[in-house]
Amino acid sequence: MTTSALLMMLFGFGVTWGGAALCISIAMKKK
């Protein structure tokens, strides 16, 4: 894989699953 493709893949997974993880952590804290 090229570096640019790898970076975009990490960007994509970071935004989506990172965002989901952040939401879950907020929910856990507020519980």
Binding site: S4, M8, M9, G12, F13, T16, A20, A27
Partner: protein, 494 residues
């Protein structure tokens, strides 16, 4: 006293909402859209659309459902009695989708049983069109019933009936608590195995290699908004219905963010899965991935079976892939059907079990059209018109009505009061300006496009019957249903 059904847990609601959003489109549409519209660079407009349209609309629909505690017609009637028809318009769209979507699940069930022996053979295209569908020459040319397909469609309806019959908590919630974890596990399993195959990383590279010049093209932005809009189950009453089952003290904003992020995250995983398999196939054939890539029905039932033939352990890949399609399809089908069931229950006050049985029986009878030799052709036309005109125009009407003729701040205050974090003015700006402009552009572009060039090469009478007539006729029908008296005193609008 009769009270509205409720989810048993927050996890149950999120999994059901995610299950609704994650459907066949995440698997067979997103990867191709990303690849076709700039590869990794597509993620920039895609995430922009997610933040400016996907999340705001999800919060709006969750908020409406939770505040007004009813299916879409009941919720819109609570806002303005004259707007109940908008809810029925969306419910009729859902009904139509429910009866043809189940046919695709039926095909996937059939292929699931063929996967262990790869009964589709080497010529997957010929097999799909000739041996499996026995495709006729025209959508108006309906000659015979394809009994194996009808049996699979009946099986899908039976599962749907059983889940809905058991109710919100014991049926839908329980089903999604099984379907979603299994689906994620299967996709991860396929990804894990596929990525170790020769050529797989090249395939993934084709998907994510950014072509930044593409994002200067406005059509790529429209494609990104379209992908977000169609993949989140928004604007056809589902999320309003699902959130109406939330307990009074429930978060809305965080749940909406979570649902959207998980849906888009699943699309990313599906992209890796599909392109790893395509990359491996392309490497074996000694061609580029661009020579084998496709989308939609062609990808699922022609390209992927061909790729599976060339992979090691084809029975393993085939079974897992078609099981993924069945699970993703079923979780969406359940949500679409529940939307219709809930609206009928709210209107006429019949018990759930009666409504579910009547709905599934009538739905199955109509679905038989899609199990005939012209099924794929009819389905293609109905799907095109329902997506490009039905959902889009109903969504545009909803957003214009709620954004401009209703005090949207009422919803914002409501969701902010009960949620784990508050949303600010950006939400209102996105709903009032960004989303209507983009949806309006898409609606006009689709209308002009279809008037200038009739869809595909279908006969005009087929396009008029299964396309234009269908999408137009449901609007007056929605008004007719609005005129009918609501017979449920507890759910009658104030």
């Amino acid at each position: 006293m009769k009270t509205r059904e409720q989810w048993g847990s927050r996890l149950g609601f999120i999994l059901a909402a995610v299950g609704s959003a994650i459907g066949l489109g995440n698997i067979w549409r997103f990867p191709y859209m990303a690849y076709e519209n700039g590869g990794g660079a597509f993620l920039i407009p895609y995430f922009f659309a997610m933040v400016t349209a996907g999340i705001p609309l999800m919060i709006l629909e969750f908020g409406i459902g939770h505040k007004f505690r009813g299916s879409a017609p009941k919720a819109f009637a609570s806002i303005s009695k004259r707007m109940e028809w908008l809810g029925w318009w969306q419910i009729l769209i859902s009904f139509i989708i429910a009866v043809y979507y189940v046919a695709v699940i039926g095909w996937a069930i059939s292929y699931l049983f063929m996967a262990p022996a790869q009964t589709w053979g080497a010529e997957t295209k010929d097999f799909f069109f000739s041996s499996f569908l026995h495709l006729s020459s025209s959508p108006m040319d309906i000659n015979s019933m394809q009994w194996p397909i009808l049996a699979a469609v009946a099986a899908a309806w039976a599962v749907n009936w059983f889940v809905l019959f058991c109710g919100v908590k014991k049926g839908i919630e329980k089903a999604n608590k099984i379907l979603m974890p299994v689906l994620f596990f299967l996709v991860l399993l396929i990804c894990g195995r596929a990525l170790t195959l020769p050529g797989a990383m090249d395939g993934v590279n084709w998907l994510f290699e950014p072509r930044f010049d593409k994002i200067l093209d406005y059509k790529v932005w429209a494609a990104a908004y379209g992908q977000i809009f169609y993949s989140l189950s928004i604007c056809f009453a589902i999320m309003i219905t699902y959130s109406s089952y939330l307990p009074e003290k429930s978060d809305v904003n965080n749940n909406a963010f979570m649902t959207v992020f998980i849906n888009c995250g699943f699309s990313m995983l599906a992209g890796v899965m599909i392109f790893a398999v395509l990359g491996s196939m392309a490497a074996q054939q000694g061609v580029g991935v661009d020579k084998v890539v496709s989308s939609g029905v062609g990808l699922a039932f022609i390209t992927i079976p061909k790729a599976i033939n060339s992979l090691p352990a084809p029975a393993f890949f085939g079974t897992l892939f078609f099981l993924c399609l069945v699970l993703a399809g079923l979780s969406s089908e359940i949500s679409i059907s529940e939307t219709v069931v809930s609206a009928i229950m709210d209107k006429v006050g019949l018990p759930r079990k009666t409504v579910v049985t009547l709905f599934c029986t009538s739905g199955f009878l109509i679905s038989t059209v899609f199990a005939t030799d012209a099924g794929l052709l009819v389905l293609d036309i109905v799907d095109h018109f329902i997506n490009n005109f039905g959902i889009l125009f109903a969504g545009l009407t909803e957003i214009l009505f709620l954004g401009w003729f209703f005090k949207t701040s009422v919803i914002r205050d409501h969701v902010n009061r009960i949620s784990e974090f508050a949303i600010g003015n950006w939400w209102m700006i996105c709903l009032r300006f960004v989303t209507p402009v983009v949806l309006g552009y898409m609606a006009v572009a689709n209308l002009i496009g279809d008037i200038r060039t009739p869809y595909s090469s279908y006969p005009i009478e087929a396009l008029l019957t299964f396309g234009w007539f269908l999408v137009v006729a449901i609007i007056p029908l929605a008004f007719v249903i609005q005129k009918k008296k609501t017979t449920t005193p507890l759910l009658r609008t104030k």
